[in-house]
Symmetry: C2
Subunit: 325 residues, 2 copies
C-alpha cells in the first residue's frame, strides 16, 4: 500500500515514522503547504509542495489529510476525496455528521473511498462506546480525558494578548474516576469530571492577573471548569512541558438479568506518551483497511465503525485465528 501525507505537522511526522513499523506500507510522498525547500522530513524523505499532489493521483493508494478540524479538514478532506482515497482525523464531534455527508458526496462522485474521524477520540473511543452500548443496552457511559495536553486549549491561551506560549493539561478528577471505574453511575456536571491546568509564558510587563482572568472566564474552553494557571519562564516550558502525552478512558456500566440484578463494567483505557504518534498509528492501520475496501470497490465515506477489524491487520486470517482470537 502506498501512502501519501498531505500536510507535514505533528500528525504528518507521526505517520511518516509509523510507516517504519508497518512493513506492508510504503510512504509514497510527503506534501507540505509551506515552501517545500524550508521543510526537512525527520527521516530524510523527499518533501513536495501540496500544489504537486495531483501529479501523484495514480501513485498513492490512500492520502492522509493532516490538518486542523476547525478550519482546514472540512475543505481539505472534501477536496482530496476528488483525487484520492483519503483518511482524516476530523474531531469536532458536533459536526461529524455534516463532514461525513460532504466527504461522502465528493468521494462517491469521484469513485473514491474515504474514512473520517480516525484516531483515539473520535476513533478507538468511538468504537469502544459502540461496543459497550450494544453489549449493555441498559447502562450509562462516561468518557474521561487526560491527564494530557489539549492542543486546542493550549492554542486558545496563546491567542490571548501578552501570552508568548502556553500548554494546557486536561486532568480527570481522581475521586470521581475511582467511583466510576468501580461501577458507580453518578450524574456529573462538566466541572465534576475534569480540571484544567495551564502553564503560561507571558511577555515582560504583561498583566498576569488580567491574563489569568481572561483564561478562567473563556467561554466553552475554561468557564465551566476549575482552572489553575501557573506563570512560568519559556525555559521551564521547553524543559518540562514540551511533550504531548495524553490518554483517558471510556467506561460503561450496565445491568443484565431478569430483574437487572447483575452489574457489569466495561472500561477501555489509554495511556499515551505521544498523542500525535498514537493517532498516526491508528491512521496507518485504518488506511490499510481502507485500501482493502477500495480494492473491493467500496465508494463513499466510512468511519472506524464501518471497518471489519480483520482488515486492520497485515496478517493472514489463519494466523489471526491461531494467535489473536
Amino acid at each position: 500500500m502506498k501512502l501519501g501525507i498531505y500536510g507535514y505537522g505533528n500528525i504528518g511526522r507521526g505517520v511518516e515514522v509509523a510507516c517504519l513499523q508497518n512493513k506492508d506500507v510504503e510512504l509514497a510522498a510527503i506534501f507540505t503547504r509551506r515552501d517545500k525547500n524550508t521543510v526537512k522530513s525527520i527521516l530524510g524523505n523527499k518533501v513536495y509542495s501540496t500544489s504537486e499532489a495531483k501529479d501523484f493521483k495514480d501513485k498513492i493508494d490512500v492520502m492522509v489529510a493532516c490538518g486542523g478540524s476547525a478550519t482546514e479538514l472540512p475543505t481539505m478532506t472534501v477536496e482530496l476525496a476528488k483525487d484520492f482515497n483519503v483518511i482524516d482525523t476530523f474531531d469536532t464531534h458536533a459536526n461529524i455528521l455534516e463532514h461525513f455527508n460532504n466527504v461522502d458526496k465528493a468521494a462517491k462522485e469521484n469513485n473514491h473511498v474515504a474514512l473520517i474521524s480516525c484516531g483515539w477520540d473520535p476513533g478507538m473511543f468511538s468504537l469502544n462506546r459502540l461496543y459497550a452500548n450494544v453489549l449493555l443496552p441498559n447502562g450509562k457511559d462516561y468518557t474521561f480525558w487526560g491527564r494530557g495536553v489539549s492542543q486546542g486549549h493550549s492554542d486558545a491561551i496563546r491567542r490571548i494578548k501578552g501570552v508568548v506560549d502556553a500548554k494546557q493539561y486536561t486532568v480527570p478528577i481522581k475521586s470521581v474516576v475511582d467511583r466510576i471505574k468501580n461501577g458507580e453511575t453518578p450524574d456529573l456536571t462538566t466541572r465534576e469530571k475534569h480540571t484544567r491546568e495551564c502553564f503560561v509564558v507571558v511577555e515582560d510587563g504583561a498583566d498576569k492577573n488580567k491574563i489569568e482572568q481572561e483564561i478562567k472566564t473563556m467561554p466553552h474552553y475554561f468557564d465551566e471548569y476549575d482552572t489553575t494557571v501557573h506563570f512560568i519562564t519559556l525555559d521551564e516550558l521547553k524543559k518540562n512541558h514540551s511533550g504531548m502525552p495524553h490518554g483517558g478512558f471510556v467506561t460503561r456500566t450496565g445491568t443484565t438479568g431478569k430483574d437487572n440484578e447483575h452489574k457489569h463494567t466495561i472500561t477501555y483505557d489509554l495511556k499515551l506518551d505521544s498523542n500525535p504518534e498514537f493517532t498516526s498509528q491508528a491512521i496507518v492501520a485504518f488506511a490499510r483497511a481502507l485500501y482493502k475496501e477500495s480494492q473491493r470497490g467500496t465508494k463513499g465515506c466510512l468511519t472506524t465503525l464501518d471497518i471489519r477489524p480483520r482488515d486492520l491487520s497485515p496478517k493472514a486470517y489463519d494466523e489471526i485465528l491461531k494467535t489473536i482470537v
Copy 2:
C-alpha cells in the same frame, strides 16, 4: 430478527433474558436436549425438544448453539449450520481454526452464515487483542482473567472421587497486574500471573488430604499454579459461592517514535457479575450483525473480527454518528 436458542443451560437462559433489552430481537423458540416437559423457561416461554428444531427452519433467522466447547459445539454448530444461520461460543483457543474450517464448510454447502467464538474471551478480548496489535505493532500483550469462577476448573474438581460439589476462582496476582497496567512488560510464567482458589464440598469420611493433593497436581488445570483448597459445607457453598462473576483484562504496551522513545499502554477491562449473562449480551449483538450479513448474502463462517461494528447496533447510522462517534 427471530432468534432460536438450542440448548437451555446458563447461556440459553442468558440469551432469553437478553432479548428483553433488545427490542428488535424476537425469541422464536427455545429447544432443550432434555425432556421438554421437565424444562420450564425462566420467562415462561414455550420450550421445544431439539428434535423439533428442523420444523423451525424458516422461522428462525439465527440459531444460538448453546453447548460446551469440549464435546458438544464441535458437532452441534456444524450440524446446525446445515439448517440455520448459527452463532456459538466455542472457546477452546487451540482448536478455533479447526472448528472454523468445519463450520465454514457446512455453512457454505448449505448457503448459511455462521459466527463462532462469540463472548468475551474469545470475543471482546479477541477484538481488543487485534485492535491493540495493529495500533502498536511493536509491543507486548497480556491477558489476565478474574477474579472469577472458572466453570471448566470447577467441573474438573467435581470429577474427583469423594467430591460432592466445588467452585474454583481464577485470581490474577495483584502486584503483577499493577506493574503491567503501568506499562511494564515483564516475562511471566503461568504461576506468576494467576493463582487458583478452590471451595470444595466432600462426602462424609472422604480423605481431604488426598483430594487436596489430587487437585493441586492435576495436569494442565492446576499443576502450573499456586492453588489453595478450602473445604466447606454444601450450605456454605450455596450461600457464598452460587454466583458466576468473572472478568479480566487485555493490555498491550508498545513503543512509537523514530527511536521508540514513546510508550503507550492500551487496556480493555471487564468486571462482570454474571459471566453467562454478559456472554449472552454479546451473542445477541453479534447475532444482529450476523443477520445483516445473511441479508447481504454472505455465506460461510465468520468470527467477531469479521463484523463491522456498526452492524452490531440497532440504531440508524446517522444517530450513531451524532451520539456515539
